[in-house]
Amino acid sequence: MKTLFFDTASDELLTDLISREAVLWVTSYPEKNIQLSHAIAKLIELPWRAVLVEKSPVELIADIDTLAGDTSWVPVRGYLHVVASDPSTLTLPRRSQPVYLLTGKPNAIDPGESASLPPRTALRRRFNMVAHMALVQPKRIFIVGPSPLDAVDDIVELWGQGCRALITVICGDRSQDDAVRQRLTPAIGLSTVVWIGIEEVSFIEQVLNRTSALLLTEDLHIRFKLPTGKSFEVNLREAELPERPLSDYCDFIPVRDLFPLSPEDLTDEEVRNFFTRGKLSWRPFAAGLPWLPEQSAVKTAIKCLDDLLCGTSDEGPALLTVYSESGAGGTTLAREIAFAAAQKGFIPILVKPHTMVPSALELAGFMYRSLDGIGKASGLTGIPEHQDEPAWLVVLDVEHFDRQDGDLLRLFTDLVRSGRKFAVLKVMDPGRVIEFPREIREIELANIVHDVDHDVVKDLGQHLNRFLKPHGRDKIIDSWLAFWRQHRPDVDTGLASFWIALEFWLAGYLDLGESIQQWLLNQFKDATVSREIKQALLEIAALSVERRAMPESLLSKLTIPNCPWQQALDDLRSSAPALGLIRVRVPDLGSVWAIGHDVLARYLINGVHRDILFCKSLDLPESTDSVGFRLARIKAICSRPSIKDISVRPLVLSLATSVLKLDEQSGSAEFFPYWRQVLAILDGIPSAVREESRAFNHHLAISRRRICQSDFFGATLSEQLDLLEKAEKEVLFSLQRISASTADESDLNLYNTLALIYLDLASYERKTTNRREVLIALLAKSDDATQSALRENPSNSYVLETAARNLLKRAPDLDDVQRIRAAAEALSYIQQAFSLDSAMLRRQKLGKLAEEAVSYLHSPDAATQIDRLCAQGSSFGYMAKAWLVIASSSEGQQLSDAMENLQPRIAKEALSVLENATQKEWPLVRFMYELQVASQPHSFERQLLLLEELSSFAGYKISLQQQLERAVLLHQRGRHQDGNKAFASIRREAKAAGSLLFLPTRLRWLYAPDGLTKLICNAQFIDHGVGRASAQVRELAGAQVPLRPQEFGKERLAPGERFRCFVSFGAMGPFLKPTDSGTK
């Protein structure tokens, strides 16, 4: 180990400090040195990750208390927390700066903080403080003070525990260097220690002077536009919570980055960085470097934001989607849209790569807190009213909520409930298309692919040449076309990678026609780093393929070289930059590492696993294929003790819920051949996770079930039984032993899966020992679980499907009459599920289930049994008859087709059958309502009567969606006061339940009594002074209904002004519209 002596702190050291990567360790110093004490107090104020103070004289404590009033650095590091007692049970805010007093506090009031604890207690306190410091994973430790040896022993001990950091000593007495090195050299593997050999006070003055200038750059001035079209600037930093700042998770586009640049303004390095995914810079965007095949995506997004801002659309927030093949430029397009939006005065919030998505509460809270500054900046008194607020754009990349559709929908729904004006822009994997519920307005902005044609390449070449020419790197058109021919997706090319290859080519890494995989492999093999580092990179790659980042704390203990992982991986980044290794600091987790692109990670894994000699040199056993190789890396990660740490819990949960889930849609079919190994890995996850997470247990149970559903996986019968029994236990454990929470799996989903597991067990029993009593018991359990799920939500499509399956599974064991009854009841569930789902495959699956049910109605003696049921007055007899009418109309086509395109004539015929029923139970009435709507969409009176009848059944809870339809129908029938009350109740319930509601087209407008012509209403404007503009509508019994004056061609209406209007309905109630939009 060498000591490098300096007289001043380098920029690199200060960067570590300012970026909160450093820990300060203050050694003991003479108490009488008041000047040093004051200086140290000021040094402590800077944004360290943590501070440890060896001895804390009264003066120092007093100085820290005094300086605590200065909040200059608070936005950067949160508040100071002086900790003098044992911190083993201490929880600090996400952003905060702990100051650990290692020997306690003189004159402490709390005995635990005392400087004179019994020796063992004092020692324990010290150990726990030092251990706490290790959790923050500093990049560098600054040891400041005249006695650096104070810190050395503790640092050596931390090193032994796997904590690695660079060391910088600030001490005017250079003669202590030998002693320090002698203690450090045998224990730690650093090649150098930096020693700033000047007086501590001088060093502190230097640092304070240089960092104070940097403080100014911490403001976050962004541009925003109001509906009036005027733009202003506001410092959004003031809206951040010091202890939980949104900027931990999100990026913004400051005003200073918005000014246009020309191609010549970009340096060659900036152009190269853009193509090699270096640090995010907005300059290439300002210069127009990103190439867009067409501007429509940007234009559509801006139009949507404009509509939101000005309220010219009553459709509310939108989910904007960009589908992009891996590496085809989805991220770049999303950033381009964000940049264009920022230029126009909308406020983009870009969630950082590989960072957790902040909750809707955090996002909405930030938007709300910003309103204060926005109001002041735009000269308003107080915060702006809703209609005057700016519009926000929340940008999520492909890895955010990857394969976690439910979380994406929850974020969106919760943001809608917050009432802010926003759109979410999400980059989507084209292979994981979400069928968004109809309540969510999805606008697909683009679908970017690698397969581009000849003309596009010419255009692309001409565009990029403008940026390459100033650096002498432009290419002739023939070169662009030759490159395209080599790399366009084809039967003989690699996985879709035209754009990736282009990036490599433009960065100068790749020659024309060279294989990216081979090139990457060579880079990796030639990198001059140790075997352990290469092994780690392959583990990072295995997770990167799954778009997951590797927490540094999950890497193995590094022995060669014996240095911090960060330094080791930084060395690898320098020697092989094209591997695209990136590091992100994630709150609550520390550093995470990933390969910038999943395609590159896949190439690397594929190349390495095939190179058997190289694998041997890395001590990696052979694998049959690259998937097995990846799985072995994931297994190695999961076997580390740190896998149980709470900080890595999201990654561990995602193993069960998506990465290793044995499911084509939400998991990965790639791991199917390895299902036994996959389950072994998940079974090996520490019990701490399984005892606390419903989601982990639930998704593991789903994977186990999946294996038993067909012979496809080749599980033996005994394996199937074992899997199903384990799945049952996991779901029961989750229901009975783990409390429900909004962030975890719901009872609804667990009961649904439980019912299906019992159905699978019943099928197993039927095909093996077929013991009747066991079968009956299992079907009864399935029935119980189904009923529990239905109680949780009777309108969930999957639960309704389970209810139908449950009935049909029991049908063979029932007597003839009961079988018909079960089939008719099952059909009523299927029909409801059908009306809730629009995806073709799902509808076809439900159609097949319906065909199974109808087959019972067509069985030889069925007609007699149906008549018998009708004679008994059973609703299900009539429902069976009605279904036969529908089924007869599907001849020559699938039943799902007949259900999807239910002809009014058929619906009417089926309805007339039901009307003959003498006793009406709620399934029959609900079926009648659906048929009534299908046969006569505008028969509002009859529809209302049926819904009223439905809501009068004691055992039936009318759903929120049905309540909404009833509320509109009340208005349609002139019962406006009841309608207004119903809407008020729906608004309350929808907010509490977090539901988004959908209004069918037939109920969008208030119609005249003919049910066909929109009613022209008389309204009188009400002047509230503040709040949303509204008017009293005579035809709605004087109800006050909101409107947008701009839609009526005016900035504002005069108080009492009368006007004519239409009334439209939305999920939250009526809304006034001008009469110029057609009467039909």
Binding site: P430, D451, D453, V491, L495, E664, E670, P673, M840, L841
Partner: protein, 234 residues
């Protein structure tokens, strides 16, 4: 390996290029066409570099089977790389040009946005031109060249020679079917029984000439996959 494993479990043999079709009868027609072609030209259109298999049998086939199976196979195949980082296989799907086929052609891209009509999704037409492999112009060529059929639906049986169909109908009057005719194209709605009967009949008596349109279809699809359209020698 995952794609191979998946395919083998489903009973599919993977070649360099692969085509999933709706049913086993489609496979039978294509294989018969290949046998006839090979006997005449000593080249194979199917079997060496090109594999054709159905999504499933009976209820598991048809557009339901395609929607259920094809996206998963497509995804797995896209990730299976050889030693040079090249895809080992490519896959496409051929759908009947009837209502269900057209709906499936629209539904597939909703399951995977990387799937595009005339790129991986093909609709059976009487004429499949080989002027380009780029999906947009190809779609336009298909549309214009088949315009004379005025949207007449097309299943594989409609590609057999017309006199051959007439012969089958006259010899099997129990399979009552109506033949719709537009220009030189025709469409017959067969019952399931009749379809099987016709397939047997064609297998027994069909000649290269009777199968010429099916052979041309095979050549076109091979062209779209980037394979030599006229086949490969053993």
């Amino acid at each position: 390996m995952s794609a191979d494993w998946y395919a083998s479990r489903k009973g599919w043999k993977l070649c360099k290029a692969n085509l999933m079709v709706e049913g086993n009868l489609d496979v039978r027609y294509f294989l018969t066409a290949n046998d006839l072609y090979r006997a005449k030209h000593q080249k194979s259109l199917v079997g060496l570099d090109f594999s054709i298999f159905s999504a499933g049998s009976g209820d598991a086939g048809g557009t339901y089977g395609i929607l259920d199976e094809f996206p998963t196979l497509f995804k797995l195949v896209g990730l299976d790389l050889d030693g040079n980082g090249r895809r080992k296989y490519s896959v496409g799907v051929l759908l009947d040009n009837d209502r269900n086929g057209q709906r499936a052609a629209s539904a597939l891209p909703k399951q995977n946005r990387s799937l595009h009509l005339w790129s991986q999704i093909f609709l059976l037409h009487r004429i499949l031109p080989c002027r380009t492999r780029d999906s947009l112009p190809l779609g336009k060529h298909v549309e214009s060249e088949n315009g004379k059929y005025q949207g007449l639906q097309c299943e594989i049986e409609d590609l057999l020679a017309e006199y051959f169909i007439d012969l089958f109908m006259s010899e099997n009057p129990r399979h009552k079917s109506v033949k719709l005719k537009v220009d030189d194209g025709f469409h017959v709605s067969w019952s399931d029984d009749a379809k099987h009967g016709l397939a047997n009949f064609a297998g027994q008596y069909g000649s290269v000439e009777d199968f010429s349109k099916i052979i041309e279809t095979l050549k076109s699809i091979r062209f779209y996959f980037g394979l030599p359209p006229d086949g490969v020698s053993h």
